[in-house]
Symmetry: C2
Subunit: 341 residues, 2 copies
DNA sequence: ATGAAAGCGCTAACAT
DNA sequence: ATGTTAGCGCTTTCAT
């Protein structure tokens, strides 16, 4: 059996309340007694039992983290940031993999609530109203990271302005002379018009007096496989083959690049490709991928810090934190010559 | 306040022990009472408080998972497997990122012990004796995943036979006619002779009557950056440039490939490259990377399953589980012509 | 400033 | 078969 507060009390010749007081600095304790207790703690290596603590305090130093896919590179980078600041503030992480499924998300929120977590970081490909409501009702301080956080009111969220990010990239492509820009969607919406990223893509077109053709807007998921197959479809178009592909995930963009190379196309000579998020693979593949840099690690870190501030300050002002993104032009995009436009 | 066992007992008109019994099926309860209690539970949506449970049982349904780097692709795949079977058996994951540092690893083991986790999955780039000893002493059921598990006795481990995997790949390369095979090491050992993977590389040479040149054995880490710079060194060699590079991580191999492409070399025409682990990037990059397939997801899943079996069976027979690996020949390697040998 | 005692929500030994 | 009770290890009134 591990040593308990009782043992420490006995050894120091004081009551357990006193030990608790020196442990938590909750009430004044005379100097000599404090020293005696601390001495015993050091000697015995006593560590308070966090389980007992949580029970009585109805609160733990555990942050529940719900993610849609642990093995995804982007999630990994968020997680690094989350973990880092969690550790800094002595919070522990309780990991839940929702597979992006609403049912799982709901289940995990309930689970975390029963675990008495101090707070939650909720990452999702696409936020659903039902979970948001459940979380609000649970009163557990939560920060959200998702592409569609702006659809909800009164929630804490950290991220990038996805609408403008997509807008800027599309605009950039148009500025390069591209008019036939395909868009690879990576999340399933009931209605495409709901997609924040798509809205940015569409707005950039209309602002430039360009129509978008739904033949160029393909639906898949964020995987490289999906990008590969979608791009293949695009490349095989008899006429009107797009001159650029904008994928809303780096993986899908990498897949598209693979498809281009496999079908003998040169990138960016024959087709331009742009990704989304600036994950590690973008600078690893050749040609290196043009993408939108998003400070994933920072988003993770900031969301965690903001969450902890919220927990400890017991404040509850919904905050929307937007971090800067930037277009990173690498080697998969180029300007069209006049005759190509 | 959430509803407790007391409330349920009162509402069902029974004692809390009875409720506890139907909850845990620990003792016979008459059919009608059981039904009444279950009815109340359903109506109220009561969920037992796992914290209180852990306190009295001195055990939780939490598995601590210590990993060296969450954002690493390989770790992500292990984690998926771990998470999946954990979920299947209703165990929750407590995540710790050690950054591969012994100090952190030790700290986390202590932390997890105080959290009364039911068991641990310990992933490490390189297992150190100190932490193994600490874990053994803690008596917490633990399964290890690391390249050097065979250096330790009486530990549970799941993985691949890294010695033979490296041996086979080197042998394969030699069979292709390569005699000048560079080796990119990815983990820092005090003594290179300690490295299991290096041993495989060396043995394949000696078995084929080949000497290894330490000029070809470069030391870096598992990152693509490291692979990039190391490969660049190799490529710039005035004479005796290696005809093949065997990197002990896919990322490093991908970096090496980038270096080759950037310096105008054709792969595999001018140089062959092989990686290690068959992570997602290997089939994403072009040319697709020859590597050693390791069932990462399965290793995660099997280690978790084996751990749970251990926890629940209360057995403690150290087991060494070796899963099959295989050489995956893709497009970064080729056979040398007679005149090139 | 210190100690005694209640109680957090639950399980399990003991009693009936 | 069911209820009573004693903790699990800790924090926090409430006395002193």
């Amino acid at each position: 059996m591990a040593i308990t507060i009782k043992d420490v009390a006995k050894m120091a010749g004081v009551s357990i309340s006193t030990v608790s007081r020196v442990l938590n600095n909750s009430k004044p304790v005379s100097e000599d007694i404090r020293e005696r207790v601390e001495q015993v703690i050091k000697e015995t290596g006593y560590v308070p039992n966090p389980v007992a603590r949580s029970l009585v305090m109805r609160k733990s130093r555990i942050i529940g983290v719900i993610v849609p896919n642990i093995s995804n590179g982007r999630i990994g980078e968020y997680l690094s940031g989350i973990e880092e600041v969690g550790r800094m503030y002595q919070y522990d992480l309780f990991l839940c993999n929702s597979y992006g499924e609403l049912k799982e998300e709901m289940k995990y929120v309930e689970l975390l609530r029963s675990k008495q977590v101090a707070g939650m970081v909720f990452l999702s490909w696409k936020l659903q109203e039902k979970v948001v409501d459940l979380i609000k009702e649970s009163k557990i301080p939560t920060v959200f990271v998702s592409k569609n956080t702006e659809e909800f009111e009164d929630i804490h969220s950290v991220g990038v302005d996805h609408f403008h990010a997509a807008y800027d990239m599309t605009n950039h492509l148009i500025g390069l002379g591209h008019k036939k820009i395909a868009f690879l969607r990576t999340s399933i919406e009931d209605d495409i018009q709901d997609s924040t990223v798509f809205k940015g893509y569409a707005k950039a077109h209309s602002d430039n007096g360009l129509d978008i053709s739904m033949n160029y807007v393909l639906q898949g998921d964020a995987s490289s496989d999906s990008g590969y197959h979608l791009a293949k479809q695009l490349i095989e178009m008899r006429e009107g083959r797009p001159t650029a592909i904008f994928a809303s995930s780096d993986e899908a963009a990498a897949g598209a690049l693979g498809a281009a190379i496999d079908t003998g196309l040169k990138v960016p000579d024959d087709i331009s490709i742009a990704g989304y998020a600036n994950t590690a693979i973008t600078s690893l593949i050749r040609p290196a991928l043009t993408t939108i840099h998003q400070p994933l690690y920072d988003i993770g870190a900031v969301s965690m810090r903001s969450l902890i501030k919220n927990i400890e300050g017991a404040q509850d002002v919904p905050e929307t934190i937007r971090l800067a993104y930037s277009i990173v032009e690498r080697s998969t995009t180029r300007a069209l010559r006049e005759d190509e436009k």
